[in-house]
């Protein structure tokens, strides 16, 4: 082999090695480092279990239904403010739309518990006892094509971001779950009618981390993008603490008020 050919071969090999290394580790390897075929096996962190929201922020917006027009903190545009000012919970209840505040963009802000399980190897299920809602997070591939059937929880695609701490084989695994949700039925960011539209794109990051007193926490960062009603992205982060079991799990129906 000539020097030129050898050099080109080396370059090609380097490219292949680099591209292989560039693929997200979570997509390839299981928790033990072995080859893994499914997102469940590739999960760098274990999000399953019962989690309780600890309402230390936006307390008066979350623990009670705030008055109409009280939209503090939400970067609404003029149209958003106008629609928020038309909130009528009795009308929602009568129209069978009591769950408008329980859609994916607002669900984690409601006080309650969530239960995370693997429905199958490619689907992570999040149940919320507030409003008795269920979200399905689908790993791998593109989201299904948009249909007219919009739902409160929309269609969510999920992917692991992360790998092994520091890159060394013995380091603990870490990672973030990134979820993008579309095809949402129009609903409320807060119970008092702060609106989001059917065009909303919801991006979430689920981060697992330890806390004081040997507790485990998930912080869910929520980014709501809705040009129809928002002047800029609406970003919140909600903190859940892991519970030992489901003894406090208490499904309740949606309430419009």
């Amino acid at each position: 082999m000539s020097n030129g050919l050898r050099a080109r071969a080396a370059l090609a090999l380097a490219t292949l090695v680099a591209l292989a290394a560039a693929a997200p580790l979570g997509a390839q390897r299981g928790r033990g480092g072995e080859q893994a075929a499914t997102p469940r096996q590739a999960a760098p962190v274990d999000l399953t279990g019962y989690w309780v929201s600890v309402v230390s922020e936006d307390w008066r917006y979350r623990m009670v239904t705030p008055p109409k027009g009280d939209t503090g903190g939400v970067p609404l545009n003029a149209e958003g403010r106008r629609v928020a000012g038309e909130w009528d919970p009795a009308r929602d209840a009568a129209a069978g739309e009591a769950c408008r505040a329980y859609g994916a963009p607002g669900l984690v802000r409601l006080p309650g518990r969530i239960h995370i399980t693997w429905q199958d190897d490619r689907t992570l299920k999040i149940e919320a006892d507030a409003g008795t809602q269920t979200r399905l997070l689908l790993f791998g591939g593109d989201p299904p094509p948009a249909t007219a059937d919009r739902t409160w929880q929309g269609v969510s695609t999920a992917a692991w971001e992360g790998g092994r701490g520091g890159g060394s084989p013995g380091a603990p695994r870490w990672g973030t779950l990134r979820v993008v949700t579309t095809q949402l039925r129009p609903g409320y960011l807060r119970k008092n009618g702060v609106p989001y539209s059917e065009n909303t794109v919801l991006t979430e990051y689920f981060d697992l981390h330890p806390g004081p007193r040997e507790a485990t926490w998930i912080t869910i960062t929520t980014i709501v993008n809705d040009p129809k009603y928002l002047a800029q992205e609406f970003i919140t982060s909600t903190d859940f603490r892991k519970e030992p079991n489901g003894s406090k799990w208490s499904p309740t129906p949606c309430r419009a008020d």
């Binding site: 701490g165 520091g166 982060s237």
Partner: protein
């Protein structure tokens, strides 16, 4: 060609490293205050979402916003446990070892109050218990995958919420900085505060990476010059409300139609199941709970026994943990020592002194005659040697104190003295002040009468800018006001206000003149201010009670020190001294 291939390979590999494995937080970040949007200016009575103790609530009920106008409080910046929650423009950068290129520290700069914070990444330990506290505390960081975990201790007293809900100086902060993609940063704060929180306070806030930042973005609130804002107020005035008199505590709950009780329910109201109770309360309002006088007082942290040396200034050290604090000024002429600790700690004290300098001890000043300050007099004196003069021919170091200290330590002829003659002051002063020059610096001994006792001395090292206060200022407990020895609450408050006049804080109410208290860690003006505020508030409360005709027992039962007890401990003797002092004044 081979070199070029290698270079390409390296470049590709570098680019191929998963983003998380090479996380960098570096950049300019702008906060998005989309939750708790009033957090920078909360209303009085807005306490929901905080797992507060009854003591925190009592503190907040006494809070008067005018307290922020007190001259010592005007330039106080945001503490680390709160700073990232304000509307903030933040710059994050790394400091690297020039040789190894290892990250030694991650630094943050917040435009609000121009606060720079250092997060040490080199594995260094946190300081000991006698080291000074700062607004930003002492932070160490480690990476947990894509998250930077930061532990912070040594925080100054601040607020969990800026409406009077206090954060104690025992608070410990854990944070996670989590970068999401290129543009987002989530910052989780977890505060444990054994004094004012019943469980950890966990909150999170969000930032967006911003480009094209100009210097003007950060040039806000960079200079603070404290000046009297409300002329005519008496010296040492501390705005506050007496129990049950704050007219604003219900304003928040009334305005937002919230049950008053729920806004003050602490941790219980932070969980989903409280919603049912809230709904019931909204249907049938419940009366607010009565006074919290029966609430338990959280236990104080245990003290450590081993002496610890803290460098306070270039040539001044504090030895903590040998009884009362010992201050040591070291220079070419020898050592000037303030107080000698407790007798039982003499061996450790001597070892600590010799660890600082092997120069002879020339002076030992006693701030009072208390056993935990003069117990080591004999040993320290014997260890030293006075600078010989024609007038002074005693062996050992000069022991200098106000003459009342000599009176207390000695006894009239024929009676047994409480301390051996070798421990007595060998040089006394009878006036208000004794000046001397030593090691090229002016040292002033100032008598502050009728405070802890009638013979208290503070020692001011003028060039080093350090004051040793003796037990006039003791941040670990209420002052011991020894009525039998001429102490009084008004004298104590006067002494603390005199001290505040003397102290010149550094930038942003931190550092500057450093304070070695009678016990506890090295302090600066902010801790003395908090102490003054506590003394004044308790004195005012007791006075109001005595004016109403309450007896000593009734005053004690009303617990006028309630919210301060977790920090300062047993209050019975102090309250009694305050009552007696107030009664005498009437």
């Amino acid at each position: 060609m081979r070199n070029r291939s290698c270079a390409v390979l390296l470049l590709l590999l570098a680019a191929a490293v998963p983003a998380g494995a090479q996380i960098s937080l570096v950049g300019d970040w702008s906060s998005r205050v989309h939750e708790d949007s009033t957090r920078n200016d909360p209303r009085i009575g807005e306490f929901g979402g905080i797992p507060l103790t009854p003591q925190a609530l009592a503190h907040a009920d006494a809070w008067d916003e005018s307290r922020l106008t007190v001259i010592e409080r005007q330039c106080v910046p945001n503490g680390a446990a709160w700073a990232f929650r304000g509307p903030a423009q933040i710059r994050i950068w790394e400091e690297k070892d020039p040789t190894t290129q290892d990250v030694v520290a991650i630094k943050t700069f917040i435009a609000t109050f121009s606060q720079t914070r250092t997060i040490w990444m080199d594995g260094r330990p946190h300081p000991g218990k006698y080291a000074p506290h700062t607004w930003q505390g002492f932070s160490t960081g480690t990476w947990r995958g894509n998250m930077l975990e930061v532990k912070t201790t040594h925080l100054k007293r601040f607020f969990h919420r800026r409406n009077g809900l206090p954060q104690s100086d025992q608070a410990v902060l854990t944070e996670y900085f989590i970068r999401h993609g290129n543009n987002y940063l989530t910052h989780v704060t977890m505060v444990e505060d054994p004094v004012y929180l019943t469980e950890p306070l966990v909150q999170s806030q969000n930032f967006v990476l911003v480009a094209n930042v100009t210097p003007a973005t950060y040039q806000t609130w960079t200079v603070c010059l404290a000046q009297e804002e409300i002329p005519g107020r008496p010296r040492g005035y501390v705005p506050h409300y007496l129990p049950g008199t704050n007219p604003y505590v219900r304003e928040y709950s009334t305005r937002f139609r919230l049950p008053f009780e729920a806004t003050r329910a602490g941790a219980e109201a932070m969980y989903p199941e409280y919603q049912d109770r809230l709904r019931r309360m909204l249907q049938a309002p419940v009366a607010a709970p009565a006074a919290m006088a029966s609430a338990p007082v959280p236990a104080r942290a245990q003290t450590q026994a081993e002496p610890e040396i803290v460098q306070v200034a270039t040539d001044v050290y504090m030895i903590g943990g040998a009884g009362g604090n010992v201050t040591v000024h070291a220079g070419p002429q020898g050592l000037f020592v303030v107080d000698a600790g407790a007798e039982m700690s003499t061996a450790q004290l001597v070892a600590a002194l010799r660890g600082i300098s092997d120069k002879p001890i020339r002076y030992l000043a006693n701030t009072s005659a208390d056993a935990d300050h003069v117990g080591g007099n004999v040993a320290v004196r014997a260890l030293g040697q006075a600078i010989r003069t024609r007038e002074y021919i005693e062996e050992g170091a000069v022991i200098i104190a106000h003459e009342t200290v000599l009176h207390r330590m000695s006894a009239p002829t024929g009676e047994r003295s409480p301390t051996p003659p070798a421990a007595w002051p060998t040089m006394t002063y009878a006036t208000g002040q004794q000046d001397l020059a030593f090691n090229g610096q002016a040292i002033q001994l100032v008598r502050l009468p009728a405070a802890h006792t009638d013979g208290d001395t503070v020692v001011f090292f003028r060039r080093s800018d350090v004051v040793a206060t003796g037990d006039i200022f003791d941040p670990t407990r209420y002052p011991v006001i020894d009525l039998a020895k001429g102490g009084s609450i008004d004298g104590e408050i006067d002494a603390i206000n005199w001290l505040l006049d003397l102290l010149v804080p550094g930038e942003k109410e931190e550092g500057g003149t450093m304070v070695v208290p009678g016990h506890g860690r090295v302090c600066d003006e902010s801790e003395v201010m908090e102490y003054r505020d506590m003394l004044t508030i308790v004195r005012d409360r007791v006075k109001a009670m005595v004016d109403k005709g309450m007896t000593l027992e009734q005053v004690k039962a009303a617990r006028p020190t309630f919210e301060y007890d977790p920090e300062y401990g047993a209050s019975e003797a102090f309250v009694e001294a305050v009552v007696r002092g107030v009664q005498v004044r009437r």
